[in-house]
């Protein structure tokens, strides 16, 4: 290939990218005629979703939303628009968290291991996901810091990371109890030892915090910086949420005890036996992130897993979201999980909330994402029908007003349906240099 041919191809590649950029940033986009399920507020049978500069400007019935004259009008008749799905527990992106050297490694950041071009992120977009909490695994008591990501088609992980107001990357801390973290020393071999090791770590963090407070301005007396203890101090001060893997009812109670002892904010993840202790979870005011798989068992802690867990927790008043745990379940089938929750007794509107706003609340992001409301990020999915019908497909996914998945695009369709090369990591984008500075 000659150089000029290469340049021509590069330029041809840039045209749609530039066009998309213009569309997303400068011209308002009006999605007109769809049934809109905003999650906050009643369903709109025939609505308009108005989006500009990555944010939702207006959402309402077609005859109630004024579409600016310069807006791009996109006919959505017959479609269903829902907020982008929020997955509170995912392992996509080639995660590499804590290693096998110790059971407690809060200093490890999952962000430092992720590949923004990982094919898994495109699979997630094909499922209508727009925000995910990427976590290290459950083989440690504390396996590291998690990363809240927007599934922007970006070239760097920094451009995908959701920022807090101070500019730092948003995320929680992954913890686990039960059998997954039982191994040879220095790992624990029993539940009692697991809790003791965690308690010891937080007691150490309490002392560290006290010494920091005591010696505050005096650089000479300050304790040496300890990355792990600094993170645990964030947890003690409620500035970082603990995402806690836990299945069995007694393990759930142990988490609730530790939480009471150290006062941290915690989300219970998986909670296979959460239905047994729904009242206690509700009384503690602790949210749950639930997984459903197609049969109970497969491990001792999941032998009483139930399709009804979500419904029971919801009825008890627990803030309840679902998660994919991808690769345990496939992000392309995330809508299905909540549909199985409906099968288990969850009202459909609660099921949709459990895929969107509830997850946003769990990640402290509900002011920005999780529902279709003016001022929120323009993250949404366009469906061919009822969100919970097997026959429905995700047709398009938008993040920050930008179309990031389109079933009509052959490359996206390959990812959505599978096939030869579907899981190849994405080639670099020509579109995303500006994103890196976001």
């Amino acid at each position: 290939m000659t150089l000029s041919m290469k340049i021509t191809i590069l330029l041809l590649g840039l045209i749609p990218a530039l066009a998309r950029g213009v569309e997303a940033q400068d011209i308002p986009q009006a999605f007109i005629g769809a049934k809109i399920l905003p999650v906050e507020g009643a369903p709109i049978e025939k609505g308009t979703l108005l989006v500009h500069r990555g944010k939702i400007v207006a959402v309402g019935p077609v005859d109630a939303v004024a579409v600016p004259g310069d807006a791009a009008r996109i006919d959505m008749t017959g479609r269903v628009i829902i907020p982008g799905l929020v997955c509170t527990h995912s392992h996509l992106g080639g995660i590499g968290g804590a290693d096998s050297s110790a059971p407690i490694q809060p200093e490890v950041r999952i962000l430092d291991s992720l590949n923004p071009r990982d094919a898994g992120y495109r699979r997630a977009l094909a499922g209508g996901l727009t925000t995910i909490n990427v976590m290290p695994g459950s083989g440690h008591l504390i396996s590291g810091q998690t990363a809240y990501l927007k599934l922007r088609r970006a070239g760097t992980i920094e451009a995908m990371a959701i920022r807090k107001q101070d500019g730092s990357a948003a995320g929680g801390l992954k913890m686990a109890n039960g059998t997954n973290s039982h191994r040879e020393p220095p790992f624990p071999g029993t539940r009692g030892k697991s809790a003791a090791l965690v308690r010891e770590a937080f007691v150490r963090a309490q002392s560290y915090r006290e010494r920091l407070a005591r010696t505050g301005g005096d650089a000479e007396k300050r304790p040496a910086r300890d990355l792990g203890l600094e993170i645990l101090v964030e947890v003690l001060e409620g500035r970082r949420v603990v995402h806690h893997h836990t299945h069995r009812a007694d393990d759930i109670r142990t988490v609730l005890r530790l939480r009471e002892e150290f006062g941290f904010r915690v989300v219970l993840h998986h909670v296979s036996e959460g239905w047994k202790v729904a009242g206690e979870i509700a009384a503690a005011g602790v949210p749950c992130s639930v997984i459903l798989v197609d049969s109970p068992g497969g491990k001792l802690e999941a032998k009483e897993l139930s399709f009804e867990t979500g419904a029971i927790l919801e009825r008890a008043g627990v803030l309840m979201a679902y998660h994919t745990d991808d690769w345990i379940t496939d992000s392309r089938l995330f809508l299905r999980m909540a549909a199985l929750g409906i099968r288990g007794g969850l009202p459909p509107e609660k099921a949709l909330r459990a895929l969107t706003l509830a997850g946003a609340e769990i990640l402290d992001l509900s002011s920005r994402i999780g529902s279709l409301a003016p001022g929120k990020d323009a993250d949404f999915a366009v469906l061919s029908g009822d969100p919970f019908s097997v026959y429905t497909r995700v047709l398009r996914t938008f993040v920050d007003g930008e179309k990031v998945f389109d079933l009509e695009d052959p490359a996206d369709r390959l990812v959505a349906e599978g096939g030869y090369g579907a899981l190849s990591d994405a080639t670099p984008f020509l579109c995303c240099h500006e994103d890196e500075t976001r």
Binding site: G78, P348, S389, G418
Partner: protein, 448 residues
């Protein structure tokens, strides 16, 4: 906010094809239910889906089980679905099926009513009953790692009818399993066809030895010296063993008893494969492994059942020409390792190429420990296969491939009284299986 304008019912506008240049997803038109298209029901719904009109139903003896089932839609799989039809089961067998208006139900027959009735579902390739619920060493009987080729391991000696996962799939309308030894060895053992009733094996088994399970590709590589470490080696080992079995059979056929070898269970089983008495079920996902299976079949002339076959869409003409049926991997099986190129649409592609297919729950080493073939068929149905073909792939067509179509897979007089009752389109995520009947006995009830 409510998705439901009426309690328990969701009605959404039907997607209109082509209005923004895109097309309606395939398979979205035909539904298996004649009820409202977007009807969603859930626990707490006060409308009764099932009426058991006689008391003492549970006490009915299997041997004399007599029951009638009335369905608003009955998928007999012998023709068009029947609207408002009755199925009558006496002594464990179906004795009549026809319109409710003209079919006489014998006096005193207990009656169940459901929106949708299908034949009891057939899982064309499972490991349930061998891969136990708890996934602990003591309940995993699907694979013995001590040798690479062990066709003499019989599934009937390993199948546990009481395993909770057998009951689990039964709760979703699955009445017949083709289950047995799993991937992980070059030849891992035999399979059987069995009902999920959880009775004695004498009562439940349809085919005690259904196939010999072989596995091509890295999933059956091993680190020990007995196991193959490459694709070339594993085919060489299989070819060598089949040649040994051929010679064994020839010597066994000798008219001079002195010249006959001692019985060898391993070679005896493989000689059954060579003689066409047992099919060789080959689990192969990558295209090169599927081709190896086809080559071995051409060379030895055995009956081949292709299993898994994730890349079968690359070899449609070859598979079609060979006339080999395919037990397609679960649609939701994870796209890892040999399944990296799997597609939700493979079953549809095979069907379109006029290749006989059946669907399956497959083998899982972790969670979920078993998949549910009803759920897998649902995803295939929604990805181009269509609900009618998907239902056939877990009833009639599966029965034909497994050689048990005279007993199960359709609703017709003389067939086993195996039925699944649903409160809507069986493939909708939010539909419930309301009851499962095996040979006239209600073996599962409840909104599952």
């Amino acid at each position: 906010m409510s998705l439901a304008p009426e309690a328990g019912i969701v009605r959404l506008p039907a997607a209109a094809p082509g209005d923004d240049g895109s097309s309606e997803p395939p398979g979205a038109d035909a539904r298996l239910s004649d009820t409202t298209r977007y009807r969603v029901r859930y626990l707490g719904d006060t409308r009764m889906r099932i009426l058991i009109l006689a008391i003492g139903l549970a006490a009915a003896e299997p041997a004399t089980a007599q029951i009638a089932v009335r369905g608003r839609l009955v998928h007999t799989m012998t023709g068009e679905p029947l609207r408002d039809a009755v199925v009558i089961i006496e002594n464990g067998r179906i004795t009549a099926v026809g319109p409710a208006a003209t079919t006489t139900v014998p006096a005193g027959t207990p009656m169940m009513v459901a929106e949708v009735v299908t034949p009891g579902l057939i899982d064309a390739r499972a490991t349930a009953g061998l891969t136990g619920f708890l996934n602990q060493k003591q309940d995993q009987d699907q694979l013995d790692p001590t040798d690479a080729i062990q066709p003499e391991l019989r599934a009937i000696d390993a199948f546990n009818p009481d395993d909770p996962l057998v009951a689990w799939v039964r709760g979703f309308g699955v009445t017949t399993l083709h289950t047995g030894h799993a991937p992980g060895a070059l030849v891992s053992g035999q399979t059987l066809v069995v009902k999920t009733a959880g009775r004695s094996l004498q009562q439940d088994v349809l085919v005690p030895a259904a196939a010999v399970a072989a596995n091509l590709g890295p999933a059956s590589f091993g680190k020990d010296r007995k196991s193959p470490g490459t694709r070339g080696k594993q085919v060489a080992m299989l070819r060598q063993e089949l040649l040994k079995a051929r010679e064994y059979a020839e010597r066994m056929a000798s008219s001079d008893p002195e010249k006959r070898p001692d019985r060898n269970l391993r070679l005896e089983t493989l000689s059954d494969v060579l003689a066409g008495r047992l099919p060789l079920l080959v689990t192969a996902h990558r295209a090169q492994d599927i081709r190896s299976a086809l080559r071995l079949r051409d060379e030895f002339g055995f009956r081949l059942l292709l299993d898994g076959a994730a890349e079968a869409y690359l070899l449609l003409p070859e598979i079609r020409a060979a006339g080999v049926p395919v037990l397609v991997h679960p649609a939701m099986q994870r796209a890892t390792d040999d399944l990296v190129n799997m597609s939700f649409t493979t079953a549809a592609a095979l069907r379109k190429a006029e290749i006989a297919i059946a669907l399956q729950s497959g083998f899982e080493s972790y969670v979920p420990k078993t998949r549910v073939v009803l759920f897998e068929a649902a995803v295939a149905a929604a990805h181009d296969l269509g609900p009618e073909a998907a239902l056939a792939a877990i009833t009639r067509d599966a029965a034909h491939i497994l050689g048990v179509a005279d007993r199960v897979g359709s609703i017709a007089p003389g067939r086993d009284g195996d039925l699944a009752l649903f409160d809507g389109d069986p493939f909708e995520y939010t539909t419930h299986c309301m009851a499962t009947i095996i040979e006239g006995t209600v073996v599962s009830t409840g909104r599952r």
